[in-house]
Amino acid sequence: MIERLQELKQEALQEISESGNVKDLDHVRVKYLGKKGPITEVLRGMGKLSAEERPLVGQKANEVREEIQTNVEKKSTELEEKALEERLEKESVDITLPGREIKQGARHPLTAVVEEIEDIFIGLGFQVTEGPEVETDYYNFEALNLPPEHPARDMQDSFYITNDMLLRTQTSPVQARTMEKHQGKGPVKIVCPGKVYRRDDDDATHSHQFMQIEGLFVDKGVRMSDLKGVLEAFVKKYFGAEREIRLRPSFFPFTEPSVEVDVSCGICGGKGCRVCKQSGWIEVLGSGMVHPRVLEMSGFDPKVYSGFAFGMGVERFALLRYGIDDIRHFYTNDIRFLDQFKWV
């Protein structure tokens, strides 16, 4: 009987190793280890054996059973591994094919510039304030020290709607309106972004509609040196810490003294190039100390309060920042243009 068991073991191991899949293997397991299997049958016939032989055969039978069991398990693991490998093989993809695109829209470059500038001034304690685009002559001109016959009105030929109303030529009227609301009490620290309109023929460098950001800082004892400090902080933050600023005397009816602010050219580092017209400097801001008449008209006592105002062209900043060559692109909205600003 021991020989029989030995034979069965050999047969079983043979069949296990020949099983090609889990099903075959299970078949082999049931065939040898099942209740109707040959080992069970051998054990059943043990009653005919002598008392000496019985334990020996029993032991052998258990050994054989265990060995088959172990081999089945081992084979089963092997087969599962193999099946998994096959599955993974089958499931593999060409990872060089493009992924599913998640569409991302683009911020308009003018919005990008406005928001960046707003954020810098918010950091400096300014509030963002807005006002109407159709303004009264009073707020657009008179309250800014430009009475009806003032020669400086020439500088900005405007779109009038009625004798008393026009498309604002600057965002400064928001300053006058805000100062009025403060009723003579400072501080007033605002930046005013918005659209403005002037009678210009549209070409690569002119647009009848464009955007401005103007700022105002009114408080007791504000000095021209403060103007310089605040604008320098702004310019370095926006254009880069390595950039220098230069102030030049200028003229605006609503400021005195008036200042033109240049920033050192970022292309040539101030040595002179095509972009800065060989000067090493690029004009970026108009500024100045608020004219006492303007303070007075908006309800502030110029003996107590002083301040500075500044203004900049958003398109100009965008042209400089992104190297755009034609101002009309901003309003044409060619999607090949817009899509370039996804990353701003």
Partner: protein, 808 residues
């Protein structure tokens, strides 16, 4: 203003500063030099030559063969095609090797078989703009006056070894509209003196006042009038040096009298006018306002209709000049003029500006009068012109000037303190430093205790208040030397307003949803201002003098502009586009504007073409109504406006597809529309299927919404039941959902529509809608029986209210 560097040197010692350095000084001082023009542009090897002989070219009708003496005793043969070339002329000869401004290189050559060793030049060929070339030389070569020295450098003779600085003057610095004004500025910057030109001349015995009288009827408009009489003059060319300087300043030489008035205008900034005394037709000058409807012909031969807003110079009967703007035709100086009346006057800026603007006439004179000339320089300028006329027009100057003078001789003074000036600037300058600066500027300073009393010269009317003086101190001290400080007041928190924060959120949401932001013009055509309106518009806002019809009216909707953008892109084969714009529209009143128009912030979205494309996977999703609706829903969600506050109803907007458009209602009020552009309108715009959405943002931005607050996560399991219902096709999904929600009561957690089906397996006229319903009690686990109870109630309600049957 064009400033010749060589000319400027007459009045102020600039040491060895180069033109570039002068430009830099002026710019840094506040008088901006916009462009630096080198006049000769490196032109060399051009000589004054004498044409000894000039004969017809044997083989060319239009060419002449000239034998030209160019000094050095040699004669060169030069072929010349100019019609005015002739023997005996002194001309500019470009010698072989010379390079003309246009890049033409002069070489020895042969023209139709004849040698030519150079070129006889026109002024244009030497780089002078045609509009500055004296009329007689426009069509041909330039001919020097007879005293030109043969063999000399022609460029030198033409005054072109010079640099012209083009000033970009701010309106307050009209004082720099003259050479002397610029000289004062330069002198202040360099701490130098200004030298005025001389003006000596002999006067005849005959009194000018015997010849003419002056009467001013409008002393406010014309505080000063000065007339001089010069007889026996000969009209001819002015001296070459004067012509050269006028050319440098951008003024064409005409004749000695006109050139002299122009020269002095440039020198002093004082406009002068010469009348032909004989043609004047009377012995008096009367200055008055024009009568309404009065007519006169100006010297450009245009008849002009005047109004009482303008001032005229008359001969007592009729206008002979439009004061300060332009002379009249019949009293103009002509070639046969022998006596002139020279006018030097001070006219008020306002009066001149009115006439100049209304008539669209701008002259060198009007530009200066409008901005204000130096009231105290009038006589000196007149004397200067008279001295030049005596010298270069051979005139006899009658004795004395005939004047009327209503000028105030009071000088303006400004009182300030060094402390105040330092406070404005943030500097710590000593009083002495400031006094030194004022002296450089030619301002008289008196000190009284701690105050400055500063007298302002009449040439600087722009200096009016302390702050003006602060600027003068700052610019001469140097803006760069002002310290850099930060304000010392209380600190304030910077911020965006609630509306601004919400607008930024919307922009981020739309960008992340794949939409590009567009910005379009606010001005549009009246026609477009009537399209795609959200509400009725009582009136539009129109510009009174538009530049074009296309930009004449403020927009009332953003949609037409975005459709233009779609059109632009589709015409460039850019067929997939998704864009939004956030901007104002402008709503007027019925029958014209009495107050500022209503400006409403609108958001508009346009989408067209494919919404999603996954090419190699063969998937394309075209834009449809549900894409645009999804964007709308997302917008409300982004603004935290509950979906239950928002409703959609079929829109009857005539420009939208009647079956694919909706009005958007917020709490029952219409705030927007969304849908496909009506196919007829798509055709009109020449665009493919396009969906639009426009919403009034003012309604949305100001809404108060609840802050985010955390809700307990459910601790008990929910139960989900899916149902498929068959309903009439006309029943909307929203109606079904509403019934489910109502019937589900408190235990209903949420409902999701997951399938819509019409077709073979559903009866005609019906459709199948499948919902997933989730039941939940936050406080305990629901029993099967409880769920069944409520679910049965839902089914009963559906059947009763909508005749909805469960799909088998």
């Amino acid at each position: 203003m064009l400033v010749s560097y060589q000319w400027l040197k007459d009045y102020v010692n600039m040491g060895d500063l180069t033109p570039e350095e002068v430009a830099e000084k002026l710019t840094r001082g506040g008088v901006e030099v916009d462009v630096i023009h080198p006049r000769s542009q490196g032109l060399a090897n051009v000589t004054v030559g004498y044409i000894e002989e000039c004969v017809q070219h044997p083989d060319a009708d239009k060419l002449r063969i000239c034998q030209v003496n160019t000094g050095e005793g040699e004669t060169s043969q030069i072929i010349c095609g100019a019609p005015n070339v002739a023997a005996g002329q002194r001309v500019a000869v470009a010698r072989p090797g010379a390079v003309l401004p246009g890049g033409v290189k002069i070489k020895k050559t042969k023209l139709r078989g004849e040698h030519s060793e150079g070129m006889i030049c026109s002024l244009q060929e030497l780089g002078i703009e045609q509009k500055l070339v004296a009329k007689e030389f426009i069509e041909g070569i330039y001919v020097f006056p007879e005293d030109a020295v043969i063999g000399e450098d022609a460029i030198e003779q033409l005054g072109m070894h010079d640099t012209v600085l083009e000033l970009d003057l701010t309106p307050n610095r009209a004082d720099c509209l003259s050479m002397l004004g610029v000289a004062y500025e330069m002198a202040a910057l360099l701490d130098q003196e200004v030298h005025h030109p001389g003006h000596t001349f002999m006067e005849a015995e005959e009194e000018a006042s015997d010849r003419v009288s002056v009467q001013i009827d409008v002393p406010k408009d014309n505080p000063y009038y000065n007339a001089r009489i010069i007889k026996n003059i000969t009209i001819g060319p002015s001296p070459l040096w004067m012509q050269n300087r006028l050319t440098a300043a951008g003024i064409r030489p005409i004749n000695n009298v006109v050139d002299i008035t122009n020269y002095v205008l440039l020198e002093y900034g004082q406009p002068l006018h010469a009348f032909d005394l004989e043609r004047l037709g009377s012995k008096e000058i009367v200055v008055r306002r024009a009568a309404n409807g009065e007519k006169m012909t100006t010297l450009d031969n245009v008849e002009r209709t005047l109004s009482d807003e303008y001032m005229v110079i008359t001969n007592g009967k009729e206008p002979v000049a439009l004061a300060g703007v332009m002379g009249g035709a019949f009293s103009e100086v002509q070639d046969d003029t022998t006596s002139i009346l020279l006018e030097a006057a001070y006219f008020s800026p306002v009066r001149i500006r009115k006439a100049s603007r209304a008539l669209g006439l701008r002259s060198e004179a009007s530009v200066r009068y409008e901005k204000g000339i130096d009231a105290e320089r009038v006589e000196e300028a007149s004397d200067r012109a008279v001295s030049l006329l005596a010298k270069y027009a051979g005139g006899k100057v009658l004795k004395g000037a005939v004047e009327q003078d209503y000028r105030s001789n009071e000088r303006k003074t400004i009182i300030t303190t060094p402390k105040r000036l330092n406070e404005i600037l943030g500097t710590e300058l000593a009083a002495e430093e400031m006094i030194a600066i004022f002296k450089r500027l030619g301002l008289e300073v008196k000190t009284e205790e701690t105050s400055f009393i500063i007298t302002i010269p009449s040439r600087r009317p722009d200096l009016m208040i302390e702050e003006d003086l602060a600027e003068e101190v700052a610019r001469l001290y140097g803006y760069d030397r002002i310290p850099t400080t930060l304000p010392e007041g209380v600190t304030t928190p910077g911020s965006l307003s609630y509306s601004q924060v919400r607008r930024r959120k919307i922009r981020r949401y739309l960008e992340a949803s794949g939409l590009d932001e567009a910005i379009t013009y606010s001005l549009t055509s009246p026609e477009k201002a009537s399209r795609f309106l959200l509400d009725d518009v009582p009136g539009t806002v129109a510009v009174s003098m538009p530049m074009s019809e296309e930009r004449s009216t403020m927009r009332t909707s953003l949609v037409p502009h975005l459709l233009d953008v779609i059109q632009y892109n589709q015409h460039r084969q850019l067929n997939d586009a998704a864009l939004f714009e956030l901007g104002s529209v402008f709503i007027g009143e019925k029958g014209g504007l009495n107050k500022q128009p209503r400006e409403t912030m609108m958001l508009s979205v346009v989408v067209t073409g494919n919404w999603e494309t996954h090419l190699w996977q063969g998937e394309k999703k075209r834009v449809d109504f549900y894409v645009i609706k999804g964007i709308v829903e997302g917008l409300f969600n982004e603004l935290k406006i509950p979906a239950s506050d928002v409703h959609y109803r079929v829109s009857d907007h005539p420009e939208l597809h009647p079956g694919r458009s909706a009005d958007v209602l917020l709490n029952g009020r219409k705030v927007g529309f969304a849908g496909q552009v009506h196919p007829r309108i798509e055709k009109e715009w020449d665009i493919k299927e396009t969906y639009v959405f426009q919403v009034n943002m003012d309604e949305l931005l100001q809404l108060d919404v609840d802050d985010v607050s955390y809700k307990q996560l459910p601790r008990y399991p929910s139960v989900t039941r899916d149902i498929a219902l068959v309903v009439d096709k006309t029943v909307s999904a929203a109606e079904v959902q509403e019934v489910i929600e109502k019937a589900g009561g408190k235990l209903l957690n949420h409902v999701t529509l997951f399938d819509v089906y019409e077709g073979d397996t559903v009866e005609a006229g019906k459709k199948s809608l499948a919902f997933s319903i989730v039941y939940l009690d936050p406080n305990r686990t629901l029993t099967d029986e409880e769920v069944t109870n409520v679910h049965d109630r839902v089914l009963t309600e559906l059947e009763e209210k909508l005749q909805a049957a469960l799909r088998k």
